[in-house]
Symmetry: C2
């Protein structure tokens, strides 16, 4: 009998990570490979808490293609270095061996690709060969080599749509009401999501008029001057601000002092900070919005291109494994901008791990407040096409899987710290 596959979702979920899961499972099924999924990501493997995906109906697996979030559960748990906690890696191999798992598909960002690589290394050392394939995912769009990361296109479409709609709203009332509107979006170190907001502005008078990127040191004086210019020229000023916007000294505008499991500072609330600045200095009435999880969960306004790529990455992961590849991650390669054409290739996991792809300098205008035509040319294909989920009772009809556990074979509990 063929070896089984283990699939896990890792890190912040997206509105299309389940489309990748669907690609993995449907392709595995076609090839008679059973897939066990980790409940809550890699933690499920450590705890031997595996979900038997073969118990899910074909209809429910297909429904993953239009269901946001991580259907099997995800986690922000990062395995330590092999020297620090070898026991974790050995446990993974022990669990995989007990369940005859020969394939490890890890669906996540840079941190997760690093983990997948390490797992494969330790497996080899312990004499348990394991095929490890990464499946790219991150709304932050910061993985190297791939044209884009599944999850990003849909956030981009949500952000561009939302700031266009809010700008229309503000424009229509600015004579007597709100003159400054600030929308905060995700993006800790890279301004890709904020940049996507720029797509809504097809001419200078369209919102957003200002984008604040993590890549550009925030200069309060210059910012306020630009806000005032926009209000005077267009009647209002719509601003997209990245949560990662920081001063020249590296201090975030909204540093809450909370850190996550990866040691990253947890941010939030830069929109009210920026709005209040404009109010205090210029006296303009403001409103602000913080999209937070709404942006990465907004499957109802997902990009069709993104959904297709997410599925293709999952499918390719299984196909690469079956073709004998190991320690690779499928990527999207762009063939042309207009019309957007792309194909699937793959890169070595070791070259992906822990590398952040920043926005190229030439994607940000010289004044630091908007995107260039080059950026628009890059971004626009990624938000093309709509892929509305089915609706029931007026709301998207998302699937909740049964998530039936595989019977445990080991009688040792493993404590996840």
């Amino acid at each position: 009998m063929a070896k089984k596959a283990f699939y896990a979702q890792s890190g912040g979920v997206t509105s299309v990570i389940n489309a990748s899961a669907c690609g993995v499972i449907e392709t595995a099924r076609k090839n008679n490979i059973e897939v066990y999924a980790g409940r809550d990501g890699i933690i499920g493997a450590l705890k031997e808490d595996l979900i038997d995906t073969s118990k899910e109906s074909a209809e429910d697996i297909t429904a993953l293609k239009y269901t946001p979030s991580g259907a099997f559960g995800s986690c922000r748990y990062k395995l330590k270095g092999i020297e620090e906690n070898r026991a974790e890696y050995e446990r993974l191999i022990e669990v995989f061996a007990a369940h005859d798992i020969g394939y490890f598909f890890y669906n996540g960002g840079g941190d997760s690709q690093d983990t997948a690589y390490k797992v494969s290394q330790i497996g080899a050392k312990l004499g348990y060969p394991l095929t490890c394939i990464g499946v790219p995912k991150t709304v932050d769009n910061d993985l190297p080599f791939t044209d884009c990361c599944p999850g990003f296109g849909s956030v981009a479409k949500y952000v561009a749509t939302s700031i266009r709609e809010a700008s229309f709203d503000v424009a229509s009332m600015s004579t007597t009401s709100t003159k400054v509107f600030v929308m905060e979006v995700m993006g800790r170190h890279a301004g890709w999501i904020a940049a996507a907001g720029g797509l809504a502005a097809e001419k200078a008078s369209d919102g957003p008029h200002i984008i604040l990127f993590p890549e550009v040191a925030f200069d309060k004086k210059r910012f306020l001057k630009r806000v005032d210019e926009c209000v005077k020229a267009y009647g209002y000023c719509a601003i997209v601000v990245s949560e990662g916007t920081q001063y020249a000294d590296g201090k975030f505008l909204a540093d809450a002092g909370v850190k996550d499991a990866f040691g990253h500072t947890q941010l939030g609330g830069v929109a009210p900070v920026v709005a209040q600045m404009a109010k205090d200095a210029l006296g303009y009435k403001y409103h602000w919005a913080v999209a937070d999880y709404l942006q990465r969960a907004a499957r109802h306004i997902a990009s069709k291109t993104d959904v297709e790529q997410a599925y293709a990455m999952g499918q390719a992961a299984v196909e690469l494994a079956l073709a004998g590849k190991n320690n690779v991650m499928p990527i999207v390669v762009r063939d042309s901008d207009t019309p957007y054409k792309w194909h699937v290739d793959n890169v070595e996991l070791v070259s992906v791990a822990n590398v952040e792809k920043m926005m190229p300098k030439e994607f940000i205008t010289e004044d630091g407040f908007h995107i260039t035509d080059a950026c628009r040319k890059y971004l626009l294909p990624l938000i093309q096409g709509e892929d509305f989920p089915p609706f029931k009772d007026g709301m998207p009809d998302y699937v909740v899987l049964q998530k039936i556990a595989v019977a445990k074979k080991l009688n040792k509990e493993f404590i996840v710290k």
Copy 2:
């Protein structure tokens, strides 16, 4: 030649107020009545700044049906009492007389219906008979008599969809990450919008688990106890909080101290307050979102029922005027819940003015934290059906009108204070 009509948008705009404008203009065109629109609402009338809608193409007027915001501009300008500022009312009549305007269609909430009524009274006193018809609009759903207010159903659909999506997201990561998610929605005095979030929860384990209404005095201790119960029972707690949530003494949880032109306190930022409370008392990791204008501008996820009703109200306004009615506002009357059937009737403006329809007590569960089946039965029909706008380049393709001004006939400037 037939008298002309004046149409103006008033107060906070919605994603379907332009559908009402479309209903007014298309119906007027069919009856050979020219419509002048106020630029920036009633201020346009005071300043004799009128937009000639006959200069807009039929295609562009039809496109209003799927364009959010106020296409002609709206304002939060409230006419003072007749005793306080009689000059304003006289000016309106002077402008209407100069342009041979015989019909006044005022598209707004309770304050605006009050204004429309007063204008008709002063017209009669000054010997200039004017047909004044209100067109209902408000996301707050707080107008009396009508089954619902155009604008509300679409916000309701956005809020229910968004909290469902965010709840899926949080649920999938709650084992190791965020356990409390708070989404702030509009609704100053009435909890209709917050209640709509409740539709996303079809069973107790679904988010949102807690809704905070302006109608229920906030009790911190009871709230924190409920949050803890939800996290323990469901792994996480998703909360929808109305911006108008207040303590027993009437103090808003998020009182920014800013007041608008109507003297209403401008609120914002209750979500972080509530989230921080849970963190401080229970230690749970949190995230929060403030939808702000995104919710009322989200035409991309509008309710088809709402769009149809908004159009029908505009159409009915013109038909009522042509049938010789005066000082009335068309309303939606519900004939049945399932299937939802409704017809158009009308009520006297004087009975609508400045009356706020609160949520019935029986729409809120006894513990004050969720909606009842009666509420669900009321709300569910209002979010039925999708009416996606056309998309271009991956984003909704909304129309911007030409807004060509009518030549002024008066040589007096009027200063709007």
